[in-house]
């Protein structure tokens, strides 16, 4: 699979999740059972740079979701 297909797989998988918009890094590993976590991390972080995904940090842990999705976003983004 090429990098573009990897990214599409991530976007499609996240879009299918109902009622939940933020995920741990480990949840992405499950989408690529044959890959090393370190490779998956690279794809995910690249997608943030691409503007497809965004981080959400509790301060102690980081969650990742599709950019702009989720209720926290609405609460924080009313600048």
């Amino acid at each position: 699979m090429g990098i573009e297909e990897d990214k599409q797989l991530i976007v499609d998988t996240l879009k299918k999740k109902k009622g939940k918009t933020k995920f741990y890094l480990k949840d992405f590993n499950k989408m690529f059972p044959d890959r090393k976590p370190r490779e998956v991390k690279k794809i995910v972080n690249q997608m943030v740079t691409d503007g497809l995904l965004e981080y959400w940090s509790s301060g102690s842990t980081t969650l990742i979701g599709l950019k702009g999705a989720g209720k926290q976003h609405d609460a924080e983004a009313d600048e």
Partner: protein
């Protein structure tokens, strides 16, 4: 003068210890008068004082967490905060923290500190923490639009990056080390900077199931608390003999030298008694004093540092120095507090630190594969066992790694441990044993 009435906080201006309230008030006043083109609300410190006064009255905090704010492409370094009374205190409506990666062991030039001050006066609240618990310079409070501006100026103008937060590598920290300590068994500052640079990606972007901390202590005195506070604790030690200057020992006994480097001089503890204060307190009983010569059975020494701390001019750490590597410390939640477990009793610590980095990466791969969400390394070690951890590290078991052997015999034998394996023939059994 500050605009707001703060009778509760004013009580904290009294007394001799430096008053953070007085300091905040002087900053509020400076912002009132300044000619700097402030990019953040002029009244933010005033409003922060007002909000804090309200909290002192209510006894319930007025901050909410914000998770999305950050600088683009980084998963850490910014902690989002929103005040829950922006109606009353608009100056601290959004008031985010930025963590700035401190230099190894926190030496500064005034030139650099002034640049930070200038930046943070203009684009932040003018309030900082010197430093936060993990070691970063904390820039306390700015608005959302200023985050990118501050980051740009830090990186482009000050050659300075942010620190870690979230499921990242956290900003590594170290003791003062060889810069000004005779006990440093390796160069803590050098390796701390080297590791920070090597793992920039892990520091800035989520990389793990949870946070991961390196702390570098130069000796077993543990001034950066690595054994209690870091997932990987690198603690300086030595494996040869404590160097003894017998003449200096006599000088301590004779009262010419101040024991403990003068650390106990505030009380009259009586004349220094080497037998009582050093030899008898040695936890391994490996020392002897015959009235003229101090003997140390170095083979039995566990390097607790007590004798060296008491007589620093007579006793010095050995010359074959390195570090002990321990893993798994963390503060309480969830499984309770844990200290680090000794995993590599001794390793030489020399550039380019390849052996140590190999070990780090083995551990990270294991934790990333097997760790649950928000499970610290120490909790994974507890869940899967220390034997498993040794396999991951490709290390052999050693009695130095344990306090005592197990007291239960419920060993989880594996098939390969047992001669003949587990595959047995029930028919052969039945030839000897009836049903």
């Amino acid at each position: 003068m500050t605009k707001r009435k703060t009778p509760m906080l004013d009580e904290l201006e009294k007394g001799k210890w430096p008053s953070f309230i007085s300091d905040m008030k002087q900053e509020a006043e400076a912002r009132e008068k300044t000619s700097v083109d402030l990019q953040t609300p002029k009244e933010c410190v005033d409003d922060l004082l007002g909000l804090l006064e309200l909290t002192y009255v209510d006894k319930v905090v007025h901050w909410k967490h914000g998770g999305i704010v950050g600088v683009f492409g980084y998963g850490g370094g910014v902690i989002g905060r929103y005040c829950d009374r922006p109606d009353e205190f608009p100056g601290v409506r959004d008031f985010h923290t930025m963590r700035v990666n401190q230099p190894s062991s926190k030496f500064y030039s005034t030139e650099y500190l002034r640049q930070i001050c200038e930046l943070w006066e203009r684009r932040g609240s003018g309030l900082t923490n010197m430093h936060g618990s993990t070691g970063d310079i904390i820039l306390l409070g700015t608005t959302t639009p200023q985050l990118e501006e501050v980051f740009w100026e830090l990186t482009d103008n000050l050659d300075q990056d942010l620190g870690g937060s979230g499921s990242n590598l956290r900003t590594p920290s170290c003791c003062i080390g060889k810069a000004r300590c005779e006990f440093a068994c390796y160069d803590t500052q050098a390796i701390c900077t080297d590791f920070t640079m090597e793992y920039q990606d892990e520091l800035h972007r989520p990389a793990f199931p949870y946070k991961f901390k390196f702390k570098f202590d130069g000796c077993p005195n543990g001034c950066v608390a690595s054994i209690a506070r870091s997932d990987m604790s690198i603690i300086g030690t030595w494996r040869d003999d404590i160097r003894i200057d017998q003449e200096a020992v006599k000088a301590y006994v004779g009262g010419e030298l101040k024991p403990n480097g003068g650390a106990h001089s505030g009380r009259d503890w009586g004349a220094f008694d080497i037998q009582k204060e050093v030899v008898d307190l040695c936890p391994t009983g490996c020392m002897g004093w015959d009235g003229s010569k101090l003997n140390i059975d170095n083979k039995e020494c566990t390097r607790c540092m007590h004798c060296i701390n008491v007589m620093p001019r007579a006793l010095r750490i050995g010359e074959d120095t390195g570090a002990s590597i321990l893993f798994g410390a963390k503060a309480p939640i969830l499984e309770g507090a844990q200290m680090s477990t000794l995993t590599v009793p001794f390793m030489k610590i020399e550039e380019p630190y390849e052996e140590l980095k190999d070990l780090v990466e083995k551990v990270w791969d294991y934790w990333s594969e097997e760790g649950k969400n928000r499970e610290r390394l120490g909790e994974l070690m507890q869940r899967e066992g220390f034997q498993k951890f040794l396999e991951v590290c490709e290390l052999d078991a050693d009695p130095r790694m344990i306090q005592e052997p197990r007291s239960n015999p419920y060993i989880f034998w594996k098939e390969e441990d047992v001669e003949g394996g587990w595959d047995r023939d029930i028919k052969a059994f039945r030839k000897k044993h009836q049903k």
